[in-house]
Amino acid sequence: MLAPTLFILFITGFVPFLYVLVVSFFDWNTFAQNPEPQFAGVNNFRRLVFDEAFLKSVGLTLKFTFFVLVSQLVIGFALAKLMMRNFPLKGLFRTVHTLPLMIAPIAVGATWRLMTVPGLGPIPHFMGKWFDISYVLSRFPDQAFATVVIMDIWHWTPLVTLTLLAGLSNVPEEPLEQARIDGAREWRIFWDITLPFLKPVLLTTIFIRLMDALRTVDEVWMLTGGGPGAATRFIGLYIWKIVFPKTDYGYGSAMSVLTLYMTIVLCWLLYVAMTGMKENKK
């Protein structure tokens, strides 16, 4: 019964991966003097180690991932806790809060771009009017990076909220009530009871968002195109530039393989760190 599914997974998942892996060992640029693939061993991977632009993109991507992940977890958890309570217009709030999730990343990027165009968008207008800040994304790298982080937080925090809300809804009431009767502080209750119950959901959420953040392309491409300079040129964008405009397929494939490896290692480290905490506690 599983055979068709496994076959489709093999064709759509494993074969392309194998293809990229094989190509990563070749020098292959269709506009080179010799446009045919030439076996290059590990030369493409060696080039990566000395490629300042690539290393800069890796650093930027990790920085971006750290900021969005931490922010989304903190804000998402706060909103999930808020939604565990009853308050007026809660249904409306939950719907509005979830709306960004329904928008395609490319549309999110386009919307934010319109909002940030100097002389047209509301953000530069009000930044100038209220804070006397000259807000020009294409000129100031820090503004561009911060805006990209904020855009991602706006777009994906609702996902974190929803998953954590599901997790919080499944935390049993009895141990919480017992702890309160025993006089435990809210912080201890959170650390010793809520968090352990949330851990599977938290781990899944972190993995999903970590992988998404590491391979983010479309909304950043639309908003900044990776600029100004290289301020928002994350790994995904850099790979795109290498593979498509530069048509350097071998080198781009090597970058993709390394990025996949990096993503797996980061996820594994996180998994060990989070499950290790539990082991240590025992």
Partner: protein, 470 residues
């Protein structure tokens, strides 16, 4: 205005169509109902093809034309992928005059001359390669055959606000401040003075001194610097010595020469007088900025000159536009006159048929249809592009020329001073390598000298990697 233009276009096409009705109808008998698909950049000339020429061709032949007009990046990306994969999605593609050498090296394109010779029944009586300007020579292969039918050609000119430059109050104030007459710039210092003067005028920041096509994340900035600014200082062909496969001065190129550094420093300095959108501006935004009346002068692609100068629905500076040649350094004009240099960018492109096309014969008919003399004048009026020599003498074009301050005459008389991008098969690869350093210079992370030193070294390495360098 637009209604009249469309009506006269329809009339012209109908008359032209009637004259050759038998040919188009007979030649397309086998292909009626066929759909041919093409891709081009969304520009005034391409939009005219999509909106006017394609429906007219369908009416004459029964062949449906679907033209996808998209962004410049997407256009190349999609066309190259289609041709590489031999997927046959597109039956005709836009080929810019500077990328055709890469395409020919990869044998992507059908030899149009040979295809017409092999299919005499498909040869339109009204179509002749002889009608085209010398721009068509850009689309010849090594055998001298034509691989693309030119559909647009224009020069990047110096546009300025005539109303501002001719205003007596501004003239007096400028003379008092700078000690000489306000006029369109013939030197770089004058350009900067003009820019400074106008940028300091409006307290509400709605008028700036100059446009700068200085996107800090798009290759448009690379192109403005290397193809419009650097040549006016005397740096040609991106500073690459193709024989030596070198860009850096150390290896025999001139990308990081003192001339190049001086040119980049000048161009970057103009950002102080440019509107805030300058650092996100490609060719489209520069045209929009000028049309919105936000800049007193600028280097603007000629394909936009006509609508900026005449279309009051899209432009707020109708009747206020002056057109002239850009300023040049000492000796550059003389070098251009002698054919040893050039003073700016001559841009244009053709429609070509990829080998991957599944409808080559129908596409061949289509390419001849857009290359007929009868469709040229209205197209030139709408898109300020000229590819036939006779188009310049058409009354409609001459009338438009008068409204556009002589843009067409300037192109006719001085077009030879301009040049397209160099014929490099590694065009996109070196461009993508060098552009990030230009971006960093624009945002001030690198000074112009450092940026060009790094760019030249990176270009050397890239050419070596591709097998063209030392």
């Amino acid at each position: 205005m637009i209604k009249r233009l469309l009506a006269s276009t329809a009339l012209t096409l109908a008359m032209g169509g009637a004259a050759c009705a038998d040919f188009w109808s007979d030649a397309s008998t086998e292909y009626k109902g066929v759909t041919i698909r093409g891709i081009s950049e969304s520009t005034p000339p391409s939009n005219y093809v999509r909106d006017v020429l394609a429906p007219a061709f369908t009416e004459a032949t029964g062949i449906v034309v679907e033209l996808e007009t998209t962004s410049w990046d997407q256009m190349f990306d999609k066309a190259i992928k289609d041709m590489e994969a031999n997927s046959g999605i597109y039956d005709f593609v836009y080929v810019e005059q500077d990328i055709i050498y890469s395409y020919l090296a990869r044998d992507f394109l059908v030899d149009v001359t040979a295809a017409l010779d092999a299919n005499p029944d498909l040869k339109a009586p009204d179509f002749s390669f002889e009608d085209f300007t010398t721009f068509i020579d850009n689309f010849r292969g090594d055998n001298g055959d034509i691989f693309g039918i030119p559909m647009e050609a224009f020069i990047k000119v110096y546009l300025y606000r005539k109303d501002l430059f001719e205003d007596p109050e501004h003239q007096a104030a400028f003379k008092e401040k700078y000690g000489y007459d306000l006029a369109p710039a013939v030197t770089f210092d004058q350009w900067r003075d003009n820019a400074e003067y106008f940028s300091e005028l409006d307290p509400n920041d709605q008028l700036w001194g100059t446009t700068v096509q200085a996107s800090s994340g798009h290759v448009a900035s690379f192109y403005e610097f290397f193809e419009s600014i650097a040549p006016t200082f005397g740096l040609y062909d991106w500073g690459i010595n193709v024989e030596k496969g070198a860009a850096s001065v150390e290896k025999g190129g001139s990308m990081n020469s003192e001339t190049a550094k001086k040119a980049l420093a000048f161009w970057i300095s103009l950002l102080d007088y440019a509107p805030p959108e300058a650092t996100s501006s490609t060719w489209d935004e520069v045209a929009s900025t000028f049309a919105a009346g936000r800049a007193a002068q600028g280097w603007v692609y000629g394909e936009n000159a006509a609508w900026i100068a005449t279309n009051s629905e899209k432009s707020s500076v109708v009747g206020k536009v002056g057109v002239t040649l850009p300023p040049v350094a000492d000796g550059v004009m003389e070098a251009a006159e002698a054919g040893e240099g050039y003073i700016g960018y001559y841009d244009g492109g053709a429609f070509s048929i990829p080998h991957s096309s599944r409808n080559k014969e129908a596409a061949l008919l289509w390419l001849q249809y857009i290359g007929q003399p009868s469709v040229q004048a209205d197209w030139a009026v709408a898109g300020s592009r000229v590819v036939h020599q006779a188009t310049y003498d058409d009354p409609k074009v001459q009338a438009q020329d008068a409204k556009a301050d002589g843009y067409y005459t300037l192109m006719k008389d001085k077009g030879y001073l301009f040049k397209g991008a160099p014929e490099y098969p590694f065009h996109a690869q070196v461009r993508e390598t060098v552009a990030p350093f230009i971006y960093e210079a624009i945002i001030g992370q690198l000074d112009p000298s450092e940026a060009l030193d790094k760019a030249a070294a990176a270009a050397d390495a890239e050419m070596k990697q591709l097998g063209y360098g030392q």
